[in-house]
Structure formats: structure tokens, C-alpha cells
């Protein structure tokens, strides 16, 4: 079972190291961690996915709060939220038949071809991790040359904002 935490942090040097160091020191198991800017200058937002079977999510949140630069932590696992992962997948596509087969699959998954090489296609897909896993599985037989995934970002549904003020 995976849990998703959103942490608002001050955008100061070393904050990512502090969070990463906390996970290492407390022996927490981390599935993914993403960081990016928010609508407010000076504040960054982390989405942290932990394996809650092996790591006590409440303890993670409480220990994150002990970091001076962490402003707010929210567990959105049980909240209606939009969870998104983005992947770029370079897949082998030799010969016209293969190429059109892959394009069809990409359409089915509402993904996009963003680059065409001599014998490869680069596919961009956004969605839940399950959806991306599904696309990866069907593309795998063609030969995946290279892949990168961003890890999960999350936002609670409804009109509430960051709410740190």
C-alpha cells in the first residue's frame, strides 16, 4: 500500500538534502520524491510516496515537521486527489508496420509521440502510475531503448489551496 504526502517547504539551500537525509537516517522506505516550485515564490512543494506497509506514514509526517524548513505536511492518501506521473519512453520501431502498431497503442493510452527517430519513437504519457505501467508493459515487447519517469505529483481536489498561511 502506497501513501502520498505533500510537503510545503521553504525554498532554501539544502532543504532537499535535509528531507532525503531524514529518510535515510530514520530508515524510511521511499518510493518516489518530486520537488518543484509553487504559485508562491520562496516555497517549494514536495510529493513524497512511501510504502506504508514498511514505513509508518504518521511518523514520517511528524519527523518532517521537525525540520525547521518544512512548513506543512499533508497526507492525501485518503483524500480525493489527482495523482499524476509523467513518462518519456523511447521505443524501438523498425519498419512501417511496427510503427503504426505503436501509434495505435499510444492513441489508446491517450499518450503522444513527441519525437521520431530513424528506428525509434519517443512517447510522452501522463497519468496515474497504473496507466503508465500499463503502457510500458505493452511497449516492452517492441524494445524500450530508454525511459524516464518523474515520479508522482499530487493535488487534492476541490477549492482548497496550499493553506499554509
Amino acid at each position: 500500500m502506497q501513501s502520498t504526502l505533500i510537503a510545503l517547504v521553504e525554498d532554501k539551500p539544502g532543504v532537499l538534502t535535509r528531507v532525503a537525509s531524514l529518510f535515510r537516517r530514520r530508515n524510511y522506505n521511499i518510493e518516489s520524491l518530486t520537488v518543484g516550485h509553487t504559485e508562491e515564490p520562496g516555497i517549494s512543494r514536495m510529493t513524497i510516496v512511501v510504502d506504508s506497509a514498511r514505513t509508518d506514514v504518521e511518523k514520517v509526517a511528524q519527523n518532517l515537521y521537525k525540520l525547521i524548513n518544512v512548513i506543512r505536511v499533508e497526507d492525501v492518501t485518503e483524500q480525493p486527489s489527482v495523482l499524476r506521473d509523467l513518462a518519456l519512453i523511447k521505443v524501438r520501431a523498425e519498419g512501417g508496420g511496427t510503427r503504426s502498431e505503436i501509434m495505435q497503442l499510444v492513441d489508446t493510452f491517450r499518450a503522444r509521440v513527441v519525437d521520431v527517430g530513424l528506428d525509434t519513437l519517443m512517447v510522452e504519457v501522463t497519468g496515474t502510475e497504473d496507466k503508465i505501467d500499463g503502457l510500458v508493459e505493452v511497449l516492452r515487447p517492441y524494445g524500450i531503448v530508454e525511459m524516464v519517469r518523474t515520479g508522482r505529483v499530487a493535488m487534492a481536489r476541490g477549492s482548497s489551496g496550499n493553506g499554509h498561511k
Binding site: 521553504e10 511518523k59 525540520l67 524548513n69 499554509h164
Partner: protein, 570 residues
Amino acid sequence: MKKTGAEIIWAMLEHEGVEVAFGIPGGTIMHTYHPRQDYGVYHVLVRHEQCAAHAADGYARASGKVGVAIATSGPGATNLVTGIATAMMDSSPIVCITGQVPTSVIGTDAFQEVDITGITLPITKHNYLVASVDELAEVIHEAFYIARSGRPGPVLVDIPKDVQQASTEFVLPDDEVKLPGYHPVGKGNPDLVAKAAALINQAERPVILAGQGVIMSGATDVLRAFAEKTDTPVAFTLLGKGGFPESHPLALSLMGMHGEVFANRAIQEADLLLGFGMRFDDRVTGRLNAYAPQARKVHVDMDAAELNKIVKTDVAIHGDLRQVLEQLLPLVFPADHEAWLERINGWRAQSHKRDIINRPENGHLVAPHFINEIWEATAGQAIIVTDVGQHQMWVAQYYPTDYPRHFISSGGQGTMGFGLPAAIGAQIARPDKEVWAILGDGGFQMTMHDLATIVQERLPIHIAISNNGYLGMVRQWQEFFYDKRYEATRLQNPDFVKLAEAYGIRAWRATNRRQAREAIAAARAHNGPTLIDFEIVREGEAANVYPMVPAGAALHEMIERPVYAMAQEA
């Protein structure tokens, strides 16, 4: 007014109420030392930076104020690390100021460059690398605020040499710090407090587990009122010692691995445990699945991350202990637990029969004897600073104190070498008090170079060496659990009396109880630092700390004190 970074450092230390700093100058911090005399902060030159951190820590624990340590970059900074880790584990408020190589060469492996903010990241409450002289005053103000507020802890401020040299317009920062993510807790949630009060009012066999939080939150008086109103006995953790007067009829003893049998038995048979400002350390609980099986548990702590970390509780209150106890006090009913206290006192009487202190004089010296002699001579009024090991447990057992901040010891980290420098800090914090540093022969030799600091500062510290020629606690474990193979624990010591005299410290040796008494009297009569080398029994039952809960055993599965026979000794 324009000031250099160096001047701002001292101006800010003054502003934060700092009276003394412990440190050693060096290449990247000497610019800061230069204007020191123009400011009202006294500086104590120690002989190793580890001692600067421990002395700052001892100062903080004895005074309740923030201790300050200063070191240069590279090895100066890394030598602080053990002291910082010690302060972190025991929630002691210290601020460490380190020099750093100039910003222009950071990252180039410059001479004496080390990434001390990286190194201390997991062992500080927070740390800073100051990027510009313009932020220096604000950073120092924040550092002190963070160190002393909430759950206190060490904060390190790393200041590059060019930041110390640069000038800027000096303005005192606003009192209020701008830390959007830092809000120390005050009162507890009233619903949870009411729930806790209901459990307390139903309890028949309650026990209070008093931790260092009692002392840090200034809750000693309200704890006493609470214990008396609810007629609840009080056991304490090592660092909680002094939070409740040990002469009080409701006082139990140290709990856990070397706690008295009656205290541990009371915990095991309790129907309610009240964990007040403590963290259920493994040395306190013994085997967890057999810990206080009949007890409901209430836990109050400053640090939410400590709640339900080790022991699952029935009511966990996140709050400042003093404020939570003030909330609880009107909600609890006056109680009378006579039957429960009588049972405990029955166990207490049995423990006392076995007590080594009652062993007849036989020409040999054991540590409890000389500790008891120090207690009697000082009427229990001294500040006692210990090192780590057997003597530490014996002091906890045989130097009862009625006052907070009178027992200073490295608990969580168990740092050997802590005692001597921490005593320096304690004596400087409390020049009005008699300070005894009771140390093992092993730990003493880890920081004994700072005898020089004691002499140089004319500190009238009394040093008692509990000398058994062994790393005694390790030897005891080898005796119990490692087939008596005393591997690497035998110490060939120097003559500690001659050593002390070489530093200009008056010294005595005692090998029996009478000599111990005489040496203690002579030391107390001497105007200046003293050292007594107490040569105690090295092996055999009288050389071991009892009672003992072996690692992994439950609290009731303890090895009791042997019934001492006169002829048994080594």
C-alpha cells in the same frame, strides 16, 4: 552603525544574553576572535574542541541557558561532532559557531575545508551556512531561538572567513523570528487532557515516569503537586533525575536497566503509566512485548514524533509538560493509593537489605561507598557531573538529589569523555555551587587534557576517579555474557595523583573507606581544583552494577543484587 561580521557575532551573542563561550581559535575563525575583548562575552580556551562542545552542553544543563562553542574550520569543526551528537540526543541547547573557508573557495578542497553543515545535518536541530554578512545577525538570532525553544537541541552556524571580514550596517533583528515552519507547542489538546484525567482518576496502581522534560519545561513544582494530589509514586529516567525530590516518600528510583527492583516491579505491575517528558528508550523499557503488560499508558511530550514511537499509548498528548500538568491538575481527584504504596514499600525494604551500601567495612573500597561518602559530606547539595559507565549508574543510585540541574550526565549517546568538560561548563554556570566530576578511569582518559583548562580558569572542581583498572561496564558484560574473556578492557593507567599534580591540581589516593572519607574532607577543605583517585574493587560481585536487566530481557527479569557475604571480595 557599520560592523564587520566578526563584530556582529559578538554583538549578537551579547544580545542573546551569552556570558561565556568555550572554544579554540584557528585559521578561519581568528578574525572573529580578534574583536572579542570589546564585547561582554568571556572566552574559555579549552584544549580540544570536543571539550568546547561538552562544556557548552554542561553549561546549558546546569543553567538552563544556551551554551556556546566556537571552533575553526576542518578539524576544529569535526572535533565538535561528538559533543553535538551528545547534545542532540539529550536535547541540550547549544549553539556552535564554526569558521569556514572563504566563500570564493568553498568546494575546492581548500586548506582546512570540511562540509560541516553536511556532516552535522542529522545531529543538529538545525544548521546554517551563512552566505552573506547581511544575513548574519538574523541567522544568529534564529539559531539561539531554535536551540532553546520547543524540544531544545544543538544548532550550528558555519561562517566563512570573508563573511566575518565583510562589513554591513548592523541592525538588531526583530525579536520575533520569521520561521513559517517552526511553531513550538504549548498547551495540550483539552479533550486529550480530559481523557488522561479520566484514566488517572480510575487508576489504582499508577506510576509516574519522569523524564528530562520535567526539568526542561520547569515542571518540577507542578509535578510534585500532581504526584501528591494523586498519591502517585514517581520513577525517573537517568536524565529525569532531580526533576522530583528523591527524599520525597513518593520517589521511587531510577527505572530500567539499572533501576532498583522495587521501581521496575512497580512499573511491571502498574495499571497506569504516566510518561511525562520521556521517550521510552530501550534502556528504560527492557523487552517491549513484556513491558508493563497491565498498564494503560498516557504519554506527554513536546515532540510529536516521540508519541507512539516505541510504546503504543492510550492517550498521547503533544504539549509542553508544565502547561499540560497545569491543565491536568484541576481535573484529577485527590487520591489515596495506600495499599499500592505499601506493596511497593515492601519491595523497597527487600531491596535495601541487599544494598551494597549496608555491606560491612572489610578493608576494600567499592564505588557506592565513596559516592555515599561524597553525598554525606556535601549533604546532597552538590552538582554531580558523571562520565559514562558503571560509576554513572552508581552515582544515579547512590547520590540522591532533590534539585533539578544537579545531576549532569550523557544519557542517550552515552559519550565517554563527557564528564570532565561538562563539569567545567557546570562550574562556570554555577560558581556558587560545589561541583563534583565523578568519572571512570576509562572515560577520564578520553578528555583528561582539559585538566589544564580547569587550572587555567581556577575552577574549584573536585574530580573523583572511580578507578578499577578496567573499562568496567564492558568488563561486566564480558563477565556476564562473553565467558569472562576480558578482551581489550584491562587498562594500564598512569599514576593519576602524579598526573594531577603535574597540572597543579592537589590530589589524593584512597583504597579503603576511611581513606575515602579523609580524602573527601581534605579535598573539600582545599581552595582550588582537586582530584581523588579512588582505587576500588576490580572484579567480583562488588565490582558489578546491580540490579541489572540484561539486554533483551523484560523489566521483571532482572539480576538482583547478590546478598553480600563479607569474605567474597577480590
